[in-house]
């Protein structure tokens, strides 16, 4: 991990796991912005000392639903911490993550990522969706799927370069799926699919990672690999927000937990892990 120090934290688009083979390429990637950005050239630098994620009185609904999925949620996540969003199904964990990445427009309240609205910093946020969001039958291989994590840095018209390919190769190896790189994505097991999706999030090189149930219904090997990678991300200075309903590993794997119930912040039960304050 000796190479992390030279670029980790210095740049929002820094590479998660530079390996000796790709260091020169990684450095160049880190400082690149797309010429024709998908978000239309809107771009803002991180505000110094701002929280990685600051959500204030957020209210949001799914289209066509009567009750808001989130109602008056506020939290502040300091940079470089691991935070668990805890709650039963339907409590609003996924909705909160979706609102942060801009998949759901808030009705009221604000969301700031490193001090900026989401639209100004797509490249600084990576989102790991639940597996069902993707058409796994589509004729695309694992390498290409992971490469789509680089698209936010490429923008319109630009094709992935040698550095992008090297980075993707390294990340696939990191997650132990390099031998599957030419497989069509539908031919993977559930755990392998989950690792491929995490690999894509890593390829984005974002400072803030939002993971929606990354360990749901995966095999033991995947669980171990993903947990190790998340730990290493944290050690390299990333902020990681994870939706989970696994209460057992909270105190060992997270710095703080935020409890949700029916779209509102819930008071944790007595003895429950809370960690550092999220205010």
């Amino acid at each position: 991990m000796n190479s992390v120090g030279e670029i980790g934290g210095a740049s929002f688009a820094s590479v998660p796991f530079p390996t000796p083979g790709s260091r020169s390429g990684a450095k160049r990637i880190a400082s690149r912005l797309p010429v024709f950005s998908y978000a239309g050239g809107r771009h803002a630098d991180p505000v110094p000392d701002a929280a990685a994620l600051a959500v204030c009185s957020l209210r949001a609904s799914h289209p066509g639903m009567e009750h808001p999925a989130l109602d008056g949620v506020s939290l502040r996540i300091p940079s470089g911490t691991r935070v668990a969003l805890v709650g039963p199904n339907g409590s609003g964990k996924s909705t909160l993550l979706k609102a942060v990445v801009g998949l759901l427009r808030p009705e009221s309240g604000s969301i700031l990522v490193h001090g900026n609205p989401v639209g100004a910093c797509h490249h600084r946020v990576a989102y790991l969706p639940q597996r069902g969001e993707i058409d796994w039958r589509f004729p695309i291989n694992v390498r290409k799927l992971v490469m789509t994590g680089r698209y936010v840095h490429l923008g319109w018209l630009k094709r992935p370069g040698r550095e992008d390919h090297e980075l993707v190769h390294d990340i696939l190896a990191r997650l132990g799926i390099e031998d599957l790189s030419s497989r069509q994505i539908g031919q993977l097991s559930g755990g392998q699919q989950q690792r491929a999706l995490l690999a894509r999030s890593l390829a984005q090189g974002s400072d803030l990672l939002l993971l929606d149930e990354p360990l749901a219904a995966v095999d033991a090997e995947t669980r171990e690999k993903i947990s190790a990678v998340i730990r290493e991300l944290w050690e390299s200075g990333k902020t990681i927000v994870t939706a989970t309903h696994d209460l057992e590993s909270l105190s060992s794997d997270f710095d703080a937990a935020f409890y949700l119930r029916e779209g509102r912040e819930a008071a944790p039960e007595a003895e429950a892990f809370t960690g550092i304050p999220l205010r």
Binding site: S37, Y38, A39, G40, P63, G64, V101, G102, L103, G119, H122, H123, V125, Y127, P129, E133, I134, D135, F138, P139, I140, N141, K144, T148, Y151, V152, L154, W156, L157, R159, Q184, R200, Q204
Partner: protein, 274 residues
Amino acid sequence: MSWLTGPLQYSFMQTGAVAAVLIGATCAILGVYVVLRGMAFMGDALSHTVLPGLVAAYLLGVNLLGGAIVAGVATALGVGWLSRRQSLREDTAIGITFTGMFALGVLLMSTVSSFRDFTHMLFGNILGVTSGDLIAISILAALVLLCLFLFHKELELTSFDPTHAEVIGLRADRVRYGLLILLALTVVVGIQAVGVVLISALLITPAATASLLTKSLPRMMLLSAAFASASGLAGLYASYYLNVSSGAAIVLSCTALFIAVSILGSLPTPKATG
């Protein structure tokens, strides 16, 4: 081989052959996206809705392709707009637009005394392609293929993972509008060969055949283009020698290829060693 080369001494056969390959390749390559994104019904609808545009242009004495492009693009945008707020399901929006537009086309046709003039619009006539038509077809085909090449990565991503596209700021709905416009242009290109009624076959069948054979998108596109071009030429020759409808012959060639590949694919294959 003279049966193959002989007819090519006629310029209408040369023009027809070039047109068949161009049209086949364009429809089939775009058709891969149509099949993978489940837009077959949309393709079928778009092709029918260019009819009023064609007939109106004919009645007004303006360029037919222009009329078709306007009608096709208007439909593409109209359906997208109707189903935008999810108060109407998209297939319902398509059904309403498509039948309404086609009926309008038929109504306009019935005002003209010689109904026969329109049979080439409905069913195509690859032998009737003029050199002027060929230039228009080439320009449109080049435009569609260039767009598919330049925006491949966005089309691919929004096809299998629109969520990730939105997360990185790429608006999947706008990419979809773009694809619908390309689809409208492609339909217009294909009308010369197989007509409005059968054009969706050229979009769907070769792509579906290719999808049975490979799990790689670029290879699927190449195979699809090859199947459609071959079917186009087969239809052209069938039309020349047997004096049958060229559009129907082209589509039936596509269908025959699909059936052949399906049957070959369902046969038990000898296990590969290792």
